[in-house]
């Protein structure tokens, strides 16, 4: 055993030498591993970290606008709201010509979860959809909230605050609340459709029938499908159920939630 000692030491030394030497393959391997980790980290940043930050900022921006409108309605009407009539009549339609990026409404869908309220702005560019205080875009050529025809909007399904992250969770009759400076429009979810990204007919006043004149007041939500992909679009239609002016406050079902937005 004693004669094998120097040999063993030599082997150990050479093994150590090999480890110390920087080999091309070794560095390449480490670079590839690093690249893999970086890509995973980027996905984590985009789909979780940045998404959560943007979602928080978008919903608090929407809360702020909603509270401002409520405050304004309260100021003009006085502290005690007038007794509610049985019917508020035809919904008021905002005739203002909004420029690209101008926010004019707040969307709140209880099914999308707490803090899912988002500002709706004119236009569907990245300046609206990827914005830290907007998030939902209105297709400019479509109708306005409460108007006869199609109020069509778009938002991200995942990342950038994901204004329509839970869109596939909608169930028949779920409320889609749209608040404007004039009041609250309550739409009820009707049905889904899955289409290719080129199917612009879903935005027609009567979806898929651009030649027909509209009689109904509907809302159309568009987002990407499947989740984490942009291969298709998921379309959710809703029908206007009721309207109430801002002075009447938020619809009774969400009054408590809306009250917390002002804090």
């Amino acid at each position: 055993m004693s004669e094998s000692h120097p040999e063993a030491r030599r082997e150990r030394r050479s093994a150590h030498g090999r480890r110390n030497r920087v080999s091309v393959v070794g560095v390449l391997g480490e670079l590839l591993l690093t690249a893999g980790v970086l890509i995973l980290m980027f996905l984590g940043w985009q789909l979780w970290w940045n998404d959560a930050i943007m979602a928080g900022q978008q919903s608090s921006a929407a809360s702020e606008r909603s509270s401002e409108w409520l405050e304004q309605a309260r100021e003009t009407q006085g502290e005690t709201p007038p007794p509610a009539p049985a019917d508020y009549g035809e919904p008021v339609v905002d005739a203002t010509d909004y420029g690209n990026g101008d926010p004019f409404a707040v969307m709140y869908v209880p099914r999308f979860g707490e803090d899912s309220q988002r500002n709706i702005a004119e236009g569907y560019g990245l300046d609206v959809l990827n914005s830290f205080d907007l998030g939902v875009g209105h297709y400019p050529d479509t109708q306005m909230p409460g108007e006869v025809g199609n109020f069509a909007i778009a938002a991200h399904r995942s990342a950038y605050g994901g204004g329509m992250h839970e869109i596939e969770q909608l169930q028949l009759g779920d409320a889609i609340y749209i608040q404007t400076k004039d009041g609250w429009y309550t739409y009820r979810f009707r049905d889904f459709e899955y289409v290719t990204p080129e199917t612009v007919d879903v935005l027609a006043p009567v979806p898929h029938h651009p030649e027909l004149a509209a009689a109904d007041r509907i809302v159309t939500l568009t987002s990407c499908n499947p989740l984490f992909s942009t291969a298709e679009r998921i379309i959710a239609y809703g029908v206007l159920e009721s309207w109430q002016p801002g002075s009447a406050g938020p619809p009774a079902e969400i009054a408590e939630t809306v009250a917390t937005w002002g804090n």
């Binding site: 980290m41 990245l126 778009a154 612009v200 942009t230 679009r233």
Partner: protein
């Protein structure tokens, strides 16, 4: 590459571990704050609209 980094770091093993953790934390912070937002801007945008 990373082996060389480990050897360059001074001190006993526990100190090296702390230094490595600090370096990793700094790298993650720089990535999340500056690198990833920049990369996000040059990647193809995620389209969600019909057009």
């Amino acid at each position: 590459m990373y082996g060389a980094l480990w050897r360059i770091l001074p001190g006993p093993v526990w100190l090296r571990i702390i230094l490595v953790l600090l370096l990793v934390a700094a790298a993650v912070f720089a990535l999340f704050t500056w690198v990833f937002p920049w990369v996000d801007g040059i990647l193809n945008p995620i389209n969600v609209t019909v057009e």
